[in-house]
């Protein structure tokens, strides 16, 4: 369902972020991507929803060649791909509910959304997703009143409201303390299993990757240097990913 064929990404400043990635991810997988900062983890997952356009190669997501999609087609693809971020990226001055309703923007007409005319089912669906992440009572609170962990749960609810087939998470727990991080990771795992959402998570914490993923991909300097099960992730492999100074 996600297929990278010799994907290369070169940024306008000449930096080669991905150097020929070949990767196949099947439906329902839970994949952790690990690697040192600057290795291309963020770039890799951003190519999947076209936030970063690939320079060379072929990238197929849900049967579509992402690099060939026009703006309109790309939007249709994006609404089936949820994404959460390290800094949560909620609109701080808006209510939690309105933030979650952002997940419906791909489905309602621009004009209606401008006047906040979301269908009743959409609002109920948004509330039910807040319920799923355990913060329905915060629906009418301004987003910036919530703690970091709660904000990330709102972000997950926003993604769920898209009814996604794929969930991309870019360092989702890097700015959270360990217990809160666990809560967030547990939700991602839960929705992966219950709702069959294919999930790709960038993590810099190897132990967290081991604990949650059934498949781990290690990248270094824009290349995949490891792709296997958590138990195959030996010390030697970690040295290959992170270089010899990284102890884990």
């Amino acid at each position: 369902m996600i297929e990278f064929r010799n994907v290369v990404v070169v940024y306008p400043n000449g930096f080669k972020a991905l150097k020929g990635i070949n990767l196949h991810i099947s439906e329902g997988e839970f994949v952790a991507i690990i690697g040192p900062s600057g290795a291309g983890k963020s770039t890799l997952i951003r190519t999947i929803n076209g936030l970063v356009r690939i320079t060379e190669g072929d990238l197929i997501v849900e049967g579509k060649h992402v690099q060939k999609l026009k703006d309109n087609e790309l939007r249709l693809l994006r609404r089936k791909i949820g994404m959460i971020f390290q800094s949560f990226n909620l609109v701080k001055r808006m209510s939690v509910l309105r933030n979650v309703l952002v997940g419906r923007l791909g489905y309602v007409s621009t004009l209606k959304s401008l006047f906040n005319l979301f269908p009743k089912e959409d609002i109920e669906f948004a509330l039910s997703n807040l319920e799923k992440v355990g913060i329905r009572e915060k629906a009418y609170v301004r987003a910036d009143q919530l703690s970091g962990g709660q904000q990330q749960r709102v972000a997950i609810a926003r993604a769920l409201t898209q009814q996604p087939d794929i969930m991309l998470a870019d360092e989702p727990v890097a700015s959270l303390d360990p217990p809160t991080a666990k809560v967030v990771m547990d939700y991602l795992k839960k929705f992966n299993e219950e709702l069959k959402i294919t999930t790709l998570v960038n993590l810099h914490d190897v132990e967290l990757a081991r604990a949650y993923a059934r498949r781990i991909i290690g990248i270094r300097a824009g290349e995949i240097v490891f792709d296997g099960k958590p138990e195959e992730l030996t010390r030697d492999v970690l040295i290959r990913i992170y270089g010899k100074w990284q102890e884990s």
């Binding site: 929803n49 249709l76 808006m94």
Partner: protein, 258 residues
């Protein structure tokens, strides 16, 4: 002890400061700035100010009519300019402009308009439309468009890009991204800029009256020309109080919003 400045820096400082001093002296001579003339003028100045000490209170009513006209000019000018500027600023920000070409054109127009002084705008519109409130309103629209688009477009440039990326990632259209991720971030500042511009416009519209663009400035210049300083002082007094009240009020609202 370590030397704080190198010899080279010292020479530079001396060279630059002597150059500036010479420029200052030459400029003074060229514009015939004469300290003696200034001192000689002091008694006449005292006389002038003395006549200000007895403002003509009976003149209050005509002043009030003209003051209201000034406020109306400022209000209409600011409102129209605000509507245009809010929309325009999205084209003049690199975050929201539909294309680089449009961004470049929008910024060029904005920067050219900003170079024209308000009083020149007023004089030109008075020449075209004749004396009255209309040229005043037009001049204010152009003038405040320059201020507001500059402030607003730079505010849009500085929005947090995270929420933009998030809203884009759900498959939102460009308009939806602006409505859901950009506008909520800039609204408080936009309101503040509009109120600030209104404050400035009240003062500017007084000055614009001097070249015939309606309002209290018009009767101010008429009375100065007729040497009716008691009336002039009453005008200044009333204006002074009005400006203080408006600034205070606007400040109060701005604080409430932010």
């Amino acid at each position: 002890m370590a030397r704080v400045l190198t010899t080279k820096t010292k020479v530079k400082i001396i060279a630059i400061s002597s150059l500036l001093t010479i420029l200052l002296i030459i400029s003074g001579i060229l514009i015939e700035f004469n300290p003696i003339a200034f001192i000689k003028g002091i008694p006449r100045g005292i006389e002038f100010f003395a006549s200000f000490l007895k403002p003509d209170i009976t003149y209050f009513k005509p002043i009030l009519t003209k003051l209201i006209e000034t406020l109306q000019i400022a209000l209409v000018g600011t409102t129209i300019a605000a509507i245009i500027s809010v929309i325009y600023s999205f084209f003049a920000s690199h975050v929201t402009a539909p294309s680089r070409a449009i961004y470049f054109i929008a910024r060029t127009i904005m920067n050219v308009l900003r170079t024209i002084p308000d009083i020149v705008l007023a004089a030109v519109f008075v020449a075209i439309f004749g004396i009255g409130a209309l040229p005043g309103v037009l001049a204010l629209i152009f003038f405040s468009f320059g201020i507001m688009t500059k402030l607003m477009s730079e505010d849009i440039d500085a929005v947090d890009r995270g929420p933009l990326e998030a809203v884009k990632s759900v498959g939102a259209t460009r308009t939806q991204v602006i409505a859901f991720a950009v506008i909520p971030q800039v609204v408080p500042n936009f309101i503040s800029y509009i109120l600030y511009t209104f404050e400035v416009n009240v003062r500017v519209s007084i000055v614009l009256g001097l070249v015939g663009a309606g309002g209290i400035g018009q009767i101010l210049i008429e009375n100065i020309r007729l040497f009716q300083y008691d009336k002039v002082s009453m005008i200044i007094l009333v204006t002074f109080i009005a400006v203080i009240i408006i600034d205070g009020f606007s400040e109060y609202i701005r604080k409430k919003i932010l």
